[in-house]
């Protein structure tokens, strides 16, 4: 086993970014190969990590814990357990595929690839960090590469989107920082270790505000939840997401939808549920309601989109509602569903955004219908059958057709939620109908019918594009037909989390 494998996985991309920066700007070929090689090695190491992971053990493994700032009790503390292990290979695979997809970018490869590799480090670090300060550092550090990538390589309204992204995330981070400082000062002895802080240490802590004694646990829980909700994104804190997805370069859009927003869902369990179990129980129903609101609101907004990128982005908002709904129900079934949804959504949404990017690159536009109501595309099935085939898989995966991506996860969420909140679950089920509505409408307008102007110059998927699409198709089928390995990875930890929440795993 490679020593310090987790550190290697997290920081190898950063090292790669430095290598890329050291290579002269003109040598674009070398930029590409360094980025590819580094991301490939990172992915291989991630696979090794999973292969050596003991999935019967609920605790943290591959621990790397070194004191960093002793006076503040801040540690360099990395580790993986059932909650985050699946995200490490998923993240590294998606970054690898994104780098392949960005292979033929024309200019500015030095900055592009170095920022992209930096982003990989920050996302992997967010998943792996077990010290809250370190977690926050990675969480915040992710904003910079994204901001610059949108601002420099984005589409027409990139400055607006980048600014909006940054302001939103910064506002969320401010709440997070406030909560984090409160935690630090309340707990004795002070510290940031998530492992040490877990287990309901704040239950009895109270604070006087205006003469009223309030439970600190609830207050801090809400502060941090709001911080995570911005990134998740939860309605009404979501409006950065469609803008950013419409303006970001395709590879970044994939990363944002597939893994970046998942860091927030993961953080809710890792931080909020672990540190504030009582508040989590107290707030669970609100989370479930928020999940259903996300499902319906996102779905209806998606119905109103003409731009394919925004449509898919609102679809993501809707689908993250399933995660929230699952996390709001303290049953093992719903929790597993939420966890599976995070992973499988990363796969099929990644596929969908890759395809949207290909479509936009070919046609130079993203309008499903023009403002006059005419078809923006149309008839692509006869112009680009392979592209249509990939899209078909992505669309049916998103719809939750049995055997494809979303089916096990959404089934488990509904199955787990129904005994507890029947009404909410049935409303949430309507989300399936909304998903069918907006996706099939898009599919019909883009791929079927007469060939529109937008489709005139669309050529089929190339061999290189197949290289990054086929793995996601295979993974989507795998997640839909055989989710057992993923469940096995997470099961002990999820049961442990549920036990710590005082709920029987059932």
């Amino acid at each position: 086993m490679i020593p310090h494998i987790l550190s290697a996985i997290v920081f190898l991309p950063l090292l790669g970014a430095l290598f890329v920066l050291l290579v002269p700007s003109e040598d674009q070929k070398l930029h590409r190969y360094i980025a590819l090689m580094i991301s490939f090695v990172t992915f291989v190491l991630s696979c090794l990590l999973v292969a050596n992971f003991n999935h019967s053990e609920p605790g943290i493994q591959f621990v790397e814990n070194v004191e960093w700032i002793t006076s503040l009790k801040i540690s360099y503390f990395l580790g993986v357990d059932g909650l985050n292990i699946a995200f490490i290979p998923l993240t590294s695979l998606l970054f690898l595929l994104c780098i392949i997809s960005s292979w033929d970018r024309g200019t500015g490869l030095k900055g592009y690839f170095s920022l992209f590799l930096m982003l990989e480090t920050t996302v992997l670090g967010t998943f792996a960090a077990q010290d809250m300060f370190l977690f926050f550092a990675f969480w915040e550090a992710a904003l910079l590469p994204i901001y610059f990538m949108i601002g420099v390589w984005g589409n027409e309204k990139r400055e607006y989107a980048a600014t909006k992204f940054f302001l939103y995330q910064l506002a969320g981070s401010a709440l997070l920082l406030l909560g984090m400082l409160a935690i630090y000062y309340i707990v004795e002895p002070h510290g940031f270790s998530l492992v040490d802080l877990a287990g309901g240490k704040f239950t009895s802590a109270r604070i006087d505000i205006g003469g009223r004694s309030l439970g600190v646990e609830h207050l801090v829980f809400i502060l941090m939840l709001l911080g995570f909700a911005v990134r998740l994104p939860v309605v009404p804190l979501h409006s950065w997401f469609p803008h950013v997805q419409a303006e970001a370069p395709p590879a970044l859009a994939v990363v944002l939808a597939a893994v970046f927003i998942k860091t927030a869902a993961y953080a809710i369990v890792r931080v909020n549920y672990a540190l504030f179990p009582e508040a989590a129980s107290w707030f669970a129903y609100v989370m479930a309601v928020a999940g259903v609101v996300n499902i319906i609101y996102g779905g209806i907004c998606a119905l109103g989109q003409r731009d394919i990128r925004r449509l898919v982005a609102y679809g993501c908002v809707s689908h993250m509602g399933f995660v929230l709904l699952g996390l709001g129900i303290f049953s093992a079934t719903a929790f597993h569903g939420a966890f599976l949804q995070m992973v499988s959504h990363g796969i099929y949404t990644g596929l969908l955004f890759f395809l949207v990017g290909i479509l936009g690159a070919r046609s130079g536009q993203f309008d499903i219908t023009t403002p006059a109501g005419e078809n923006g595309f149309g008839g692509l099935v006869s112009k680009a059958p392979l592209l249509t085939g990939f899209f078909t898989v992505a669309v049916f995966s998103t719809l939750g057709v049995p055997g494809l991506g979303a089916f096990p996860s959404e089934s488990l969420v509904f199955l787990g939620a129904f005994p507890f909140h029947r009404f909410l679950t049935v409303i949430g089920l309507a989300g399936v109908f909304l998903t069918a509505g907006y996706l099939m409408w898009m599919y019909r307008k883009v791929f079927l019918g007469t060939v529109g102007e937008g489709s005139a110059h669309v050529t089929d998927v190339t061999a290189r594009e197949q290289v990054f699409l086929i793995p996601l198709v295979i993974l989507s089928v795998f997640a839909g037909t055989y989710p057992t390995p993923l469940i096995n990875l997470a099961q002990p930890t999820i049961n442990h989390v549920l036990n710590s929440l005082g709920k029987e795993a059932k």
Binding site: P236, I300, L303, A332, V381, L429, F433, G437, R444
Partner: protein, 656 residues
């Protein structure tokens, strides 16, 4: 061994999908040849399964954990093949093979190639249908349900993908399929939450404790709406489009979805109070389908309506307690409708074989007693007569409606034969008319025989069909699995008995002989073929059963037209154009309104007021600070003085 035929069959279907995917856009003859080979492999597995079941060497079943959450939820796939489902499996495999064979032949002969997407749809449909019909629990069944919808969507979409009407049809089909799916899934979740099981067997064993029953109602409602019952009968139009895609196996899939759930969980359905009153829905659907089929010119539309009518028959029998009949109707209706659809799809006036098939399929579907559909009808009517769970008056209204629907559908089907074959053959000088006309008379007579026989033969009796000795091979097919019995089916012991056969022969003779004699008498002076043909045309015109013929006839004016007009108003609900308007008013418009409200909230409130407002307020604060930070020393000095003054007032004058 008990799982091998199933695995081989599903494996062959899936391999076929990959073969279709792996070849060029226009499938080569090699791809089709492999597809044919694979379809024959799975046909062989179906034959093997049938042999195992009927020779009692063993059953075909398999269950395995798909995925589980340790001690918690288990997603189990459960497949169990009984005598009924294995015959449907045989039918499915047979027709899939025929489809592959024709596709292969057309390729060899240089006919236009099928698109790959359409070729993928067929085996997916086969897989879905096989999953549904052999399902032993909701998970396996839902697998089949969803795959059939996907395959149907693909079949409609990819047959001629650049046709706007086709893309519109596939879109609407899929959307209308999702609405019942939501109901079905809610019912499935309800069953799991209420009874703690996904297994059909376990659910049926809890018949005595089924409470509450709403989950079962949701399941039934979802399945009914999915299967072309009102108000979603308009999907028939899209079925017609699907059928044009040279994919008649589609019908089989839909019939399976409609009927097999009833067969699987009938004890649970029957144990619920009030479920029988759902019967009004298929009754209206059946009569509407038959009346709409009468003036219909488009043969594929007639077949679409026929499928809707078959599904309605299945539902009616199931809901009235005659679940043996439901099984038999599902099996035979699917086969008959498939045969008819396949014939129409491949119909050619030049091909003698297809002409005969059309006639044979029509004979089957008009209830010829020697055919499966005739037998099924027999069981269906017996079930109606002896259904004690319905109010008497309600039962007879429903029964009467159904018999009327049967007769009208038979007329519509024979109108189709006349339209597609006989008249044209007459014009071309063909010589089958004189054979077919007596056949038509024979068939309608058989319908009467069958009806009369059922009424007479099914009047008495007290034991269950499954306990009946000396079952014939066909009767064994319609005997349900052990344990799925209900007291209302008490008269089935008569089936195949001497009394039964005597009654049928007598009633048959009473109808058939006069019918034949009157036919001979009517045509006694017709010497030439032209005169003979003319005479037949006159009969048809007098009956007024087809559009363009004599619509002043008594039958048309007093019976068919009012009926058509009456149902026609209701039938507006089944007309896709009318439904489009209704859907636009009750769904699309409000949905659009809500969407606009949400978009307003999104843009005007969240983006404009909250986000931009926050940014604006920060900007205002920034500008204000800039006013203060103007860089002039005297300004800072003045501010300092004011602050000092404030401190002095606070602590010296007022007191700290």
């Amino acid at each position: 061994m008990e799982r091998l035929p199933l695995f081989i069959s599903i494996g062959a279907f899936l391999a076929w999908v990959f073969v279709a995917l792996g070849f060029d856009k226009k499938l080569s003859s090699a791809a089709r040849g492999i597809g044919l080979g694979l379809s024959l492999v799975q046909l062989g597995s179906a034959v093997w399964a049938t042999y195992r079941i009927f020779s009692e060497t063993g059953g075909v079943h398999w269950s395995g954990v798909w995925f589980s959450l340790g001690s918690g939820t288990v997603f189990e796939l459960n497949f169990n093949v009984d005598p009924i489902t294995v015959v449907m499996w045989m039918g499915l495999s047979l027709f899939a093979s025929i489809e592959a064979y024709f596709a292969f032949l057309s390729q060899i002969k240089g006919a236009p190639s099928q698109l790959r997407g359409e070729s993928v749809a067929l085996p997916i449909l086969g897989t879905g249908a096989l999953c549904a019909l052999s399902s032993g629990n909701f998970i396996s069944y839902y697998f089949g349900w969803a795959l059939i919808a996907v395959a149907a969507f693909m079949a409609v979409s990819f047959s001629e993908p650049n046709r706007e009407d086709r893309s519109s049809a596939s879109f609407r089909y899929f959307i209308l399929s999702v609405i019942p799916e939501v109901l079905f899934v809610a019912g499935m979740l309800g069953c799991y939450a209420s009874y703690g099981t996904m297994s059909f067997g376990e659910l049926n064993s809890k018949v005595a404790t089924l409470n509450p029953a709403w989950a079962i109602y949701l399941l039934v409602a979802g399945t009914m709406l999915r299967n072309l019952q009102i108000p979603f009968m308009q999907n028939v139009r899209y079925l017609a489009s699907a059928k044009e895609a040279s994919n008649p196996i589609f019908f089989m899939g839909h019939a399976i979805v409609s009927s097999i759930l009833f067969a699987k969980i009938y004890p649970a359905i029957a144990a619920t109070d009030g479920i029988q009153y759902f019967i009004a829905v298929p009754a209206i659907t059946a009569i509407a389908a038959a009346v709409l089929a009468l003036p219909e010119q488009d043969p594929s539309m007639i077949v679409g309506l026929l499928v809707s009518y078959v599904c309605a028959s299945v539902f009616m029998s199931g809901l009235s307690g005659a679940f043996q009949a439901a099984h038999a109707l599902a099996l035979n209706g699917a086969l008959g409708a498939f045969l008819l659809a396949a014939t129409i799809t491949n119909f050619s006036e030049e091909k003698r074989g297809t002409r005969w098939f059309l006639g044979a399929a029509t004979l089957v579907m008009t209830g010829l007693p020697i055919t499966g559909w005739g037998w099924a009808r027999y069981l269906e009517y017996v079930g109606f007569v002896h259904n004690d769970s319905l109010q008497s008056w309600f039962r007879w209204i429903v029964f009467g409606t159904k018999i009327l629907a049967d007769i009208l559908m038979a007329i519509a089907l024979w109108g189709l034969v006349r339209e597609r074959w006989l008249d044209r053959q007459g014009r071309d000088g063909g010589l089958r008319f004189e054979v077919l006309s007596p056949l038509a008379i024979l068939c309608l007579s058989c319908l009467a025989i069958s009806t009369g026989g059922r009424l007479l033969g099914g009047m008495v009796g007290s034991t269950d069909l499954s306990a009946m000795p000396n079952l014939s091979w066909f009767e064994r097919l319609i005997v349900p699995p052990a344990g799925m019995t209900r007291s209302v089916t008490s008269s089935y012991d008569l089936i195949g008995s001497d009394t039964d056969i005597t009654a049928r022969v007598l009633v048959g003779a009473a109808f058939l002989i006069p019918a034949l004699l009157s036919g001979l008498w009517f045509f006694r002076d017709k010497k030439s073929l032209e005169e003979f043909r003319e005479g037949c045309r006159n009969i048809v015109a007098k009956l007024g059963v087809a559009p363009g013929t004599n619509q002043n006839s008594i039958l048309w004016v007093w019976i068919l037209k009012p009926l058509h007009n009456w149902v026609g108003r209701g039938a507006a609900f089944f007309d896709s154009r009318v439904v489009d308007v209704i859907v636009a008013d009750i769904w699309a418009r409000p949905a659009r309104f809500i969407r606009n409200v949400f978009m307003f909230i999104e843009r005007a409130i969240i983006d404009k007021r909250l986000v931009d407002g926050l940014a604006e307020s920060i900007s205002v604060i920034g500008r204000s600070l800039r006013l203060v930070q103007n860089g002039q020393v005297q300004f800072y000095f003045a501010v300092g003085l004011i602050l000092m003054g404030a401190v002095v007032i606070k602590f010296v004058v007022v007191g700290g």
